[in-house]
Amino acid sequence: MSKKITIALAGNPNSGKTTIFNNLTGARQHVGNWPGVTVEKKGGNLKHDDYEIKVVDLPGTYSLTAYSLDEVIARNFVVEEKPDVVVNIVDASNLERNLYLTTQFMELGVKLVIALNMSDLAEARGQKIEIKHLSEFLSAPVVPTVGHKNKGTDELIRAIVDMAEGNFNLDRVTIGYGEEVEEEIKKIEGLIQRDAGLMQGYSSRWLALKLLEGDEEVIKKVASEKEV
C-alpha cells in the first residue's frame, strides 16, 4: 500500500516552478523565460519508494494577498485545499523579493520546503548563499536546485517526503510586528479562539493578521461563519 502525498509548487512568477514540475514528474509543460506562462494549476504524479506524490504546479504569485485571477488560483489552492507540503520555488538571484512570499507561507503555518532555484546564476553573480543559516531563519529545509539542468531534484524529493512525514524538527519562527500591533493581534486571537468554527484548520494568529490587514477573502470567510 503506497502512501499518498499532495504537494504544491508555489513561488514568484518566473522562478522556475514549471521547470521543477517537469523535472519531478517527467511532464513536458510549456515553460518560458518570462513571467506569467502558467496561468492555471496543473497536476502530475511522481512515484518515489512507497510514495505516490501528486504534484500541483501553480501560477506564480508575489504574495498570498491575491491580486489577479491566476494569483487567486495559487492562493486558494494553498489556503483552502491545504496540500501536505508546499514547495516554495525561490529565485536565488532575487532572494530579497522572493522571500516575502516565503514569510507569508511561514505565517500561514504550512509544511514548507524551499527550492533555491537558479542557484548557479546566483553563484555566477558572485553571491554565496549560506544554506544552513537560511534554513534556520526560515525554519524550513532549503535545497539548492538548477531547474534547467535537473540538478537537486533527488534531494528535493527526499526533503519533501521527510517533511510530509514530519521528520524535520524545526522550531517555528514567529514574525513579530512590534508591541502595538502584537497587542491587537492577541485581542483578535482571543476573539477567534472563542469561536471554534472560525478556525477551520487555520492558526488563530494567521487569521488575526489577515483580519488586521483587511484581507477581503478572510473577512468574507469569517463573516459567513458568523451567520451560521
Binding site: Y62, S63, T65, Y67, S93, N94, E96, R97, Y100, L101, E213, G214
Partner: protein, 72 residues
Amino acid sequence: MPLTMAPRGKEVTLIGINGGRGVRMRLHSLGLIPGVKLRVLNNNGAGPLMVAVMNSRVALGWGMAYKIMVEE
C-alpha cells in the same frame, strides 16, 4: 517627486507610496518598499514605465507610478 517625473536612466530611492492598502500591498510584494533603490529603464512621459528593482524589471502603469514617491 512622483516616479513619473524621473527620467530614463535615473537612479532614485523610494520614499513612500501615496495610496490605499491595496496598492501599497501590491507594490510591496513586487519589492517596491520604502528605501529600495530603483533605476528607471524607460519613461516615455506617458503610458507604462519600467524600472529595475531588486534584480528584476517591473512595468508600472502611469497611474500607479504616479503614486510612488521617490527622491534622488
